[in-house]
């Protein structure tokens, strides 16, 4: 199963027809097929990496939250415990599964007054056989046919269950808030759930802090650590003080990268550069582009303020620029702008080609106040 396309109405403060398309549209060179793209089936390519960029409060996080919601439906057939209201959200998802393109549409409602979970109304599932010759029209609405579904489900369970049948991790969302002391519990749970060896954990720890040579979980709140050759038993709170915030966050994120690459699910990271050295982010991007490592078609989806990272992208159609006026909206760099591919993307950002620059007048207004 691969999610290809998402369209939403009334999701948070998104514009009408907020749309994210993962199918490669611009020219696909042999090198792009090697490093930038993944072949889902003959003629159908999606991206190894996808970036959302834009200034603060432009809607980057909203975009990845929408994807997180879609993946929750595709993996659990439910949508619950999110930080936003589901009421009135109209959702359309196109995904590839077993030689068919499926189109799923629904209108969400809050199941209760606190909006702890969504119920699915007006559900419609249609599909069409995928043909390479019709790849340019894969989203054409009139060629989908209704899927007959016999059976009833609770209203908080999506009918996608009847198509995919089994729960499976489709993506993990790593938000920008940090998990505090829960990080270590999540770290060891991920190691167990995704069968990641302790050797890999050691490799990951060494990337972030050479003083730590071992970390073991004793129980839910206590850990044994070999720190500067000294063995210590520490609680999760003590561990949080002992390690840098970058190490704590980085260990979990890199273990999730490993899980994503080994199992072929997508990883969604909000503000990827948060707490990290640029090299570590570059390395993550490089791992997803290297098919000798990314053997199961995992995609790294991230938001960033760091436009230099986009110079590591050979394509433009996997970059979405978020902007907001009253509503937030996305523009695909390839479809929305005529940028010469040989120009550095970061330079275009600094030249404000995408109207994403920080407001200079506002910066100077603050400085003026400070000079008084």
């Amino acid at each position: 199963m691969k999610l290809l396309h998402v369209k939403a109405k009334h999701f948070k403060n998104c514009s009408e027809n907020f749309e994210i398309d993962f199918v490669a549209k611009s020219k696909k060179t042999a090198e792009d097929k090697e490093y930038e793209l993944q072949k889902i089936t003959e003629g159908l390519y999606t991206y190894n990496t996808v970036a959302f960029v834009g200034k603060n409060a432009s809607g980057k996080t909203t975009a990845v939250e929408l994807l997180d919601a879609c993946f929750s439906i595709l993996e659990d057939f439910r949508l619950e415990s999110k930080s936003y209201s589901f009421d009135g959200v109209e959702l359309l998802m196109d995904f590839y599964y077993d030689e068919y393109i499926y189109r799923y549409e629904t209108i969400l409602k809050n199941a209760d007054s606190i909006g702890s979970k969504a119920i699915f109304t007006n559900q419609k599932i249609r599909r069409k056989k995928y043909f390479k010759s019709k790849v340019k029209e894969i989203y054409a609405d009139n060629s989908f046919e209704d899927v007959e579904i016999a059976g009833e489900l609770p209203e908080d369970t999506s009918k996608i269950f009847f198509i995919l049948k089994k729960k499976a991790t489709r993506a993990i969302y790593f938000d920008s808030f940090g998990k505090g002391i829960d990080t270590y519990r999540l770290l060891f749970a991920s190691l167990k759930d995704f069968h990641i060896s302790t050797d890999i954990l050691s490799n990951v720890i060494n990337i972030f802090d050479e003083n730590i040579s071992d970390l073991q979980k004793l129980d839910d709140h206590n850990y044994r650590i070999l720190f500067c050759s000294q063995e210590k038993v520490v609680s999760d709170k003590e561990l949080l003080y002992l390690l840098s915030s970058g190490t704590t966050k980085g260990m979990l994120l890199y273990i999730l990268v490993v899980a994503s690459l080994q199992n072929g699910f997508d990883l969604i990271v909000d503000e990827i550069e948060n707490h990290f050295h640029k090299t570590l982010v570059e390395n993550m991007i490089s791992l997803y582009k290297d098919k000798s490592v990314n053997r199961h078609q995992a995609t790294l989806i991230f938001t960033t303020h760091y436009c230099e990272l986009l110079d590591l992208f050979n394509r433009q159609d996997n970059i979405f620029i978020a902007k907001s006026n009253e509503k937030v909206y996305l523009t695909n760099m390839y479809r929305g702008y005529a940028v010469r591919p040989e120009l550095l993307k970061s330079r275009q950002f600094y030249n404000n080609v995408f109207q994403t620059a920080v407001n200079y007048e506002e910066l100077m207004a603050l400085k003026k106040e400070l000079k008084k």
Binding site: Y35, E282, I285, S292
Partner: protein
């Protein structure tokens, strides 16, 4: 110091991968920048190669693998101090010469070579079981993947067959153990 292997196409990359996996080369994966060969013609147009060059702080030697490699490798200014040498390893006129040698068809090819490229000759004459050569990487994998000794023999024989490389054009055979 690391080696950056830049292959002109995916088929050259597959040849190098087969040789690497079977331990036939003078270097191992550990000697390679990013632990892998790359499909990249130029540095400026390969985001993956640039990323790997950014990640590695030491010096880098480049081996270019391709047929003629008539285009000069341009080294972007930011990598000039890091890249200490560039060497070309050629399979002129085309990589398909390896199949022609493997099938002992060099005599037949000599007769038509003025009007036919090795690629077209291979498409017309090279088969693996019922499958005709189709310029695909999968064909290289199937043909040589299980028989690296044949690949090594062909690379060595290519040097004997084509002794007319220019001064700066090395033979793949020089990379073999």
């Amino acid at each position: 110091m690391k080696l950056l292997i830049m292959c002109e196409g995916p088929n050259e990359k597959e040849i190098i991968n087969i040789l690497l996996q079977n331990n036939c080369l003078k270097f191992t994966e550990d000697d390679l920048l990013g632990l892998t060969p790359y499909h990249a013609r130029q540095i400026h147009s390969s985001a993956q190669v640039r990323t790997e060059l950014n990640l590695y702080p030491g010096e880098v030697k480049i081996y270019r693998i391709g047929d003629k490699q008539s285009d000069k490798l341009k080294i972007p200014a930011e990598y000039k101090s890091k890249i200490i040498s560039v060497e070309k390893y050629c399979t002129k006129p085309e990589l398909e010469m390896l199949f022609i040698i493997a099938e002992q068809l060099t005599g037949a090819y000599e007769k038509v070579k003025s009007g036919m490229k090795p690629k077209d000759f291979a498409k017309a004459n090279i088969k693996l079981g019922k499958k005709k050569y189709d310029n695909s990487t999968a064909f290289y994998t199937e043909y040589f993947g299980n028989n690296p000794a044949l690949l090594v023999r062909c690379i060595n024989d290519y040097k004997k067959y084509n002794g007319s490389h220019g001064k700066d054009e090395h033979y793949l055979a020089e990379l073999l153990k």
